[in-house]
């Protein structure tokens, strides 16, 4: 073998390594395993790393909350059909504007066999309401709830600070653990709940393994064992599906989904979700303090074209509000800002930026569907009216940490979902006092405060319309679209997609299972 060809061969191999970096995800595997043939273990892909399994932590439904949703139970819950039903509570009633009574079911036990009664529920609320515990779900509940009492083992009485029409739905994501357990264990990594599953092991970075809770009071879930796998990037999700190592994954770019359209392993789909996407604006710096500049941003983005081409033909832009039908109640009188580059240029000139301006748009890697091409498309369209965009990307933890500070990028591409539809809570995310808001708008804040304490549906609707109109005219975001829910699920499984992104193991069963 001559030296020349030997070296050339090595060079070719080195070069091929580059292709291999990409190719390794492209190998169409035929891996075995998966629930289609295995009745024991169900493997589900999460799109975000876990941070805490403590029921007092408010985690994303794309990560923590879904795992918590399999381990814990709540007073009420929202089913796949979007209807509110009892979970721990068999019934509940609103006694007055500020008092609600929940009646608990009999014989509920934690997965370790200890009983869960009204006193346990009260202790959990006290824990959340106590600022000293620093639980992330606490502040939002403290704003609403004055006190919780347990007059007997089956009755929980919740007293709100002011009227709160949607309390029953709002509490559908408040879950419970045991005092004795929390005092002797670390609830972040060793959760104890009363839901369909109990934790077997967890590795926050990579996933968690759950087994069936033998003491669960509800319908027995089909699978004995569940493995949640963290697939933090689009490439990781596609690779896991191609190798057949997960039974279901959500949060796939529509462009990736087409690869599985003819798959004999997966069914794919896409529908609307409850995730409302916007570009949040940092108004602590001069150009963006001017409402004309923020309106110009809204006029400059062609939301319709981007949504239909990059997110799916069915995705319509938000109608000039941070809410989207059919999940949310919306203000029917509002329209999306039309795509009008001339108007955008005119507003920029009036605001004193005839030569445009430079802005940073920060993305979180792999968190939102198709965020890289979306950012490139938005950057191009803003560029056409003279707004020069520098796109930066960071991993979710550092990106979200930065979003809480005034040093956040001028624009961030972000979406929110919640397990409940309470209009006040959906709008509160965009008030000045919210942790990721970097602006001041007392008029809007006051409207949302009034909305929170509305005492009738008519009053609620009226205030919702006023608040959304106010926010539309003086926008603190660039209104975009509802993110679609996309999925690839093993063909042998029955599952109803949930718009909130819940990927709950108790929702899965084999087709034709009795």
């Amino acid at each position: 073998m001559s030296r020349t060809s030997g070296r050339a061969l090595r060079a070719a191999l080195a070069g091929a390594a580059v292709l291999l970096m990409a190719g390794c995800s492209g190998a169409l595997g035929g891996g075995s395993g998966g629930a289609g043939t295995d009745t024991d273990t169900l493997t589900l892909g999460l799109s975000r790393q876990l941070t805490s399994l403590d029921p007092g932590s408010s985690g994303s439904i794309d990560g923590d909350a879904t795992v918590q949703g399999a381990i814990f139970s709540s007073l009420t819950k929202i089913g796949p059909d979007q209807k509110l039903v009892g979970d721990l509570a068999t019934s509940w009633r609103q006694d007055s504007d500020v008092q609600w009574t929940f009646v608990l079911r009999d014989g509920v036990k934690f997965s370790n066999g200890d009983p869960l009664d009204a006193a346990t529920v009260k202790w959990n609320f006290d824990r959340l309401l106590d600022p000293a515990t620093k639980l992330t779900s606490g502040p939002a509940l403290r704003a609403i709830i004055a006190r919780v009492d347990a007059p007997d083992a089956h009755t929980v009485v919740v007293t709100t600070k002011k009227p709160y029409l949607d309390l029953d739905e709002r509490l559908s994501t408040t879950t419970f653990t045991e005092q004795k357990w929390v005092e002797s264990h670390n609830p972040v990594l060793e959760p104890l709940g009363s839901g369909p599953y109990q934790l077997q092991s967890v590795d926050l970075e990579n996933g968690a393994t759950l087994v069936r809770n033998p003491n669960y009071y509800g319908d027995r879930p089909y699978y004995d064992k569940v493995a949640f796998k963290v697939l933090g990037t689009e490439a990781a999700r596609v690779q896991a599906l191609q190798s057949g190592s997960v039974d279901a994954a959500i949060q796939l770019d529509p462009q990736s989904l087409t690869q599985f359209a003819g798959s004999d392993r997966y069914t794919t789909g896409s529908q609307w979700s409850s995730w409302n996407m916007t570009l949040r604006i940092n108004e602590t710096k001069p150009p963006l303090q001017d409402p004309r500049v923020r309106q110009a941003l809204n006029y400059a983005v062609d939301k319709k074209t981007i949504a239909s081409s990059l997110l799916g033909p069915d995705i319509q832009p938000s109608s000039g509000q941070v809410l989207n039908a059919p999940y949310d109640q919306v203000n029917p009188d509002l329209q999306a800002y039309p795509h009008d580059p001339a108007k955008a240029r005119q507003l920029l000139a009036e605001a004193g930026y005839p030569n445009g301006l430079d802005l940073e748009l920060a993305l979180s890697t792999g968190t939102y569907i198709a965020s890289d091409p979306i950012a490139q498309a938005i950057a191009q369209q803003l560029g056409e009216v003279g707004i020069r965009i520098k796109v930066t990307t960071a991993q979710f933890p550092s990106w979200v940490q930065r979003s809480y500070t005034d040093d956040v990028a001028d624009l961030i591409y972000i979406g929110y979902s919640s397990g409940y539809r309470a209009p006040a809570e959906r709008l509160r995310i965009y008030t000045s006092t919210y942790s990721q808001s970097h602006f001041s708008d007392p008029a809007y804040d006051a409207l949302v405060d009034q909305l929170t304490t509305a005492t009738s549906r008519e009053q609620q609707t009226n205030l919702l319309d006023r608040a959304t109109q106010e926010f539309h005219d003086n926008p603190h975001v660039v209104f975009l679209w509802p993110q679609p829910l996309t999925w690839a699920v093993n063909k042998n499984l029955d599952w109803v997609p949930r718009p909130e992104h819940w990927l709950l193991p108790q929702d899965f069963r084999p087709k034709n299972a009795d």
Binding site: R3, T4, R7, A22, G26, Q255, A377
Partner: protein, 287 residues
């Protein structure tokens, strides 16, 4: 390492003579790619940044010979323009690496035991730190600017040049004609300028072909990881990454920039081999 052995090959038996066809093919390929990328604004059929949201991920066709990417941009135009960045950055980094390596190598060889030991340990430390790791750390702090990128790439590759330059400069400095030059009154600087550096030229040129390939691969890896050239400016590594998730459905987004990388690297290596042969033959003729 084959490059180093070429200097000793000169005094051993000559290998069988080979036709230079591989070297010519390699050179032609490299020159062709270089010309095409330099002339990208003239030869690219489309604007590499022009998005067409109505034509995403179109397969190769007459209008788009390499297809379109996830934003409807023409992949051929992006490959051509992407080469400007990838090859330009790698070339500058290679030159910088050669200058740094040869400079320090000569100092180590002729500067006395203290310099030799210090620079030798520095090179050892540099070798112990993987280039990609160094690049990740530096770029995370310094940001992904072109200057930072070039510096990081040069820092990751100067040791090879240093080692070659040091060994060969030491060898040259021990030759009788150097002693003669010194007796004739030549200063160290003159010896280096007139005798040592010219003797290093061919070796460094051959080493540069190897360095260039390493640097180009590292540059592409950084682009792949999102730390190299930033979008929307096209770059081969970054393009491979952007098509990664679509590889089974839209292979052309990743494969064409990946193929461009392979072609350039193989071409440079073949040309480098030919150069190595030429210089070792020349060395024999001298003796």
């Amino acid at each position: 390492m084959s490059v180093i052995t070429t200097s000793t090959d000169a005094v051993t038996a000559a290998p069988a003579r080979r036709r230079p066809v591989y070297g010519i093919v390699g050179s032609v390929v490299v020159v062709a790619v270089a010309v095409l990328t330099i002339a990208a604004p003239l030869v690219a059929p489309h604007d590499p940044l022009a998005q067409d949201l109505t034509g995403l991920l179109r397969p190769p066709s007459a209008v788009h010979p390499f297809g379109t990417d996830e934003l409807g941009r023409d992949v051929l135009s992006r490959v051509l323009h992407g080469g400007r960045v990838a090859l330009g950055v790698s070339l500058v980094a290679t030159v910088l690496s050669a200058v740094l390596g040869v400079g320090l190598g000569v100092v180590a060889a002729l500067g006395g035991r203290y310099w030799d030991a210090t620079l030798g340990r520095l090179a050892d430390v540099q070798l112990a730190v993987p280039g990609i790791l160094l690049a990740l750390v530096v770029l995370a702090f310094a940001g992904s600017g072109t200057v930072a990128l070039v510096v990081v790439l040069a820092l990751g590759s100067w040791v090879l040049n240093f080692r070659i330059a040091r060994v060969h400069a030491t060898f040259v400095a021990a030759q009788p004609f150097i002693e003669a030059a010194r007796l004739a009154g030549a200063s160290t600087v003159e010896v280096v300028r007139r005798h040592v550096v010219p003797a290093l030229g061919p070796l460094v040129l051959v080493a540069a072909t190897l360095t260039f390939s390493t640097v180009l691969l590292l540059e592409s890896s950084l682009g792949f990881l999102g730390l190299g050239v930033q979008p929307p400016t096209p770059d081969w590594g970054q393009m491979v990454a952007s098509g990664q998730a679509q590889l089974a459905g839209a292979w052309w987004v990743s494969i064409f920039p990946g193929a461009a990388l392979v072609v350039v690297i193989v071409g440079v290596q073949l040309a480098g081999d030919r150069l190595a042969e030429r210089f070792s033959t020349a060395g024999r003729a001298d003796e």
